[in-house]
Amino acid sequence: MSIEVRNISKTFSGFAALTDVSLVVPDGELVALLGPSGSGKTTLLRIIAGLEEPDPGPDGRILFNDEDVAGRGVGQRQVGFVFQHYALFRHMSVFENIAFGLRVRPRGSRPSKAAIDAKVRELLQLIQLDNVGNRFPSQLSGGQRQRVALARALAIEPRVLLLDEPFGALDARVRQDLRQWLRRLHDEIHVTSVFVTHDQEEALEVADRVVVMNEGRIEQNGTPEEVFHHPATEFVMQFLGHVNLFRGRIEADHAVFGPWALQNTDPAKDGQEARMFVRPYDLDINTTEDGRPAVTATVTRIQAAGPTAKFELLDENSQPIRVEMPHDRFRAMNVAKGDRVFVSLKDARVYVEDYVI
């Protein structure tokens, strides 16, 4: 079941949470809505679910498989929704929680008791919690609760599955396990899924597509590789990991940032200010000059615990620079705090200011 959102806006007492948002989620995909808090990602998810009404507008549409569901209430859309804080029914056992969506169906369409039992058992197996059916939510760990919440959402055989910060309330380790599990689960059941997250690592690791949102608008919609390696806007570049910012300007057919000059593909913007973003691992450090154009800087801090060695430097204008490099290279180089080093460039993205100064 594909989801299509067309020209949806939402205002909360004067605050624009969403501004003219359009989005297509293809059938069977797992899509992440990624953004900082207040970017409108949860609002968009809740509007898809029907928990929130979009602002009335002539072009606003929400389509499930090209069928307009805007007029349908939240109970009729047949969506599975997983809340950040689980929202399990605290006075019901795990079994009753999962069975709830089937048991409240009107008598005509309600499955038999045996069918409900079988379905719940099957779901308990799917979430690998076969023997906790009789327990109460309060007796489960956070990760277990979230899996029960997922099983409860899946019990009604939803047409789409929506997850609001599903791992937000869990600690780092459980989070890691659970998101890999979610990915495997999705490969197994292939229900069109949208999940909201503010954790870029989570989005890039789990999703087929990542939709980056900021201030109620979609900044970029692409595969994890696209948004990471080819960020469409400065915001996406900055949001997906740490970046160094260098200011410079366009001179003839080059963008010039201190000693570095990059080929400019858009010479019409001659003389304009430009900004260059460089990921910490796209910078290189040398203790001696090797002929490459380089900025000189002083090492202020080295943090070698973790997957890479991280350097904090200050250049001659006291601008901080962050550099990351593999451990083997760090060990071979023999650099210490206080040393003067030469920073050279491996890769960068340049954004030219849209306005003329």
Binding site: A49, G50, L51, V74, G75, Q76, Q78, V79, G80, F81, F83, H85, A87, L88, F89, R90, H91, F100, G101, V104, R105, F136, S138, Q139, L140, S141, G142, R152, A153, A155, I156
Partner: protein, 304 residues
């Protein structure tokens, strides 16, 4: 020394260094016990003592007396109407205040407290002002031969007014704390409004609701001030139990007065027992809720 040893095993969690010295603890406990004995236990005992002083036969005779029976019946009728009405009102108000955002919410919460803030006598006078012979609706009521003041409807109205905050006050903080996510989850799963209320909301608030009803009932049966103003003290017709006790007492019929009063005292004891039981249940439930995530100290964070 013996006192110190006994106190050390008390369930206080405070480390030795921040505990008060032994004599302070002993003094505080002694003062508390003395006050409890003097101002609570002694009067309670004296009620039953006075009631039974003339013998069991006289005691029951005072209760079976027609006027006393009418008072008991009227009290039960009043509570029987006021409590269910306030149950429904309390639920509706708490639901509206906890689950919706709207203008004037703060004012509404303050208004719910009004009966607690205002003297019961004033509450009674308000109804006299509205429905009394010289009141706003008085002439119309007289013309249609309807009696509210100095009649049973007045007693019921005054009681409802005085007792309406109890259920709402118990539910509002609980429902605010619980939020509406579980209800939203139920709606997404296809449950309608009624099923959501019945299967999700009500089970979550049942103990607080029961607690509010118990308190509401105790006050409804025991209310004196407001009812005294509107009832007119017509013996055998508009006297509730508290009013009947007062009449008997003013007639120097102490034994009968205390006999009826003993029923009210019994009601208080039953209420206390029920309240304790509910509190115990709530605590057990909360303990179960918290155990998995954040262990709270026993009794900590209880709002009841």
């Amino acid at each position: 020394m013996a006192g110190t040893v006994r106190l050390r095993v008390s369930p206080t969690k405070a480390p030795q260094a921040v505990r008060d010295p032994a004599w302070v603890r002993v003094l505080l406990i002694a003062i508390t016990l003395l006050f409890l004995g003097l101002f609570l236990l002694l009067p309670l005992v004296s009620v039953f003592y006075e009631a039974l002083r003339g013998g069991v036969r006289l005691y029951f005779a005072s209760l079976i007396n027609a006027d006393a029976m009418t008072a008991v019946r009227l009290t039960l009728l009043t509570a029987g109407i006021a409590v269910p009405c306030n149950l429904v009102f309390g639920l509706a108000a708490a639901w509206a205040l906890a689950k919706f955002e709207f203008r004037g919410k703060g004012t509404l919460i303050t208004l719910i407290d009004l009966p607690f803030a205002v003297s019961p006598v004033v509450s009674g006078l308000v109804f006299v002002l509205l429905f009394g012979a010289g009141g706003w609706f008085g002439p119309w009521l007289t013309a249609n031969n309807l009696h509210i003041i100095f009649a049973v409807p007045g007693v019921v109205l005054a009681t409802m007014f005085v007792t309406f905050p109890f259920v709402a006050r118990e539910l509002i903080p609980l429902m605010q704390e619980q939020g509406s996510e579980e209800e939203q989850a139920a709606l997404v799963l296809g449950a309608g409004g009624w099923k959501t209320f019945w299967h999700v909301t009500l089970p979550n608030i049942k103990w607080a609701l029961l607690y509010g009803v118990i308190l509401c009932n105790a006050r409804a049966m025991g209310e004196f001030g407001a009812v005294s103003v509107v009832s007119g003290h017509i013996r055998g017709r508009t006297n509730t139990m508290p009013l009947h006790v007062e009449i008997l007492y003013n007639e120097y019929n102490f034994q009968a007065a205390f006999a009826v009063a003993s029923l009210l005292a019994l009601l208080a004891l039953v209420t206390l027992a029920a309240k304790t039981l509910v509190e115990w249940r709530v605590r057990a439930n909360m303990g179960q809720d918290e155990s998995a995530e954040t262990p709270t100290p026993p009794g900590g964070g209880m709002t009841l």
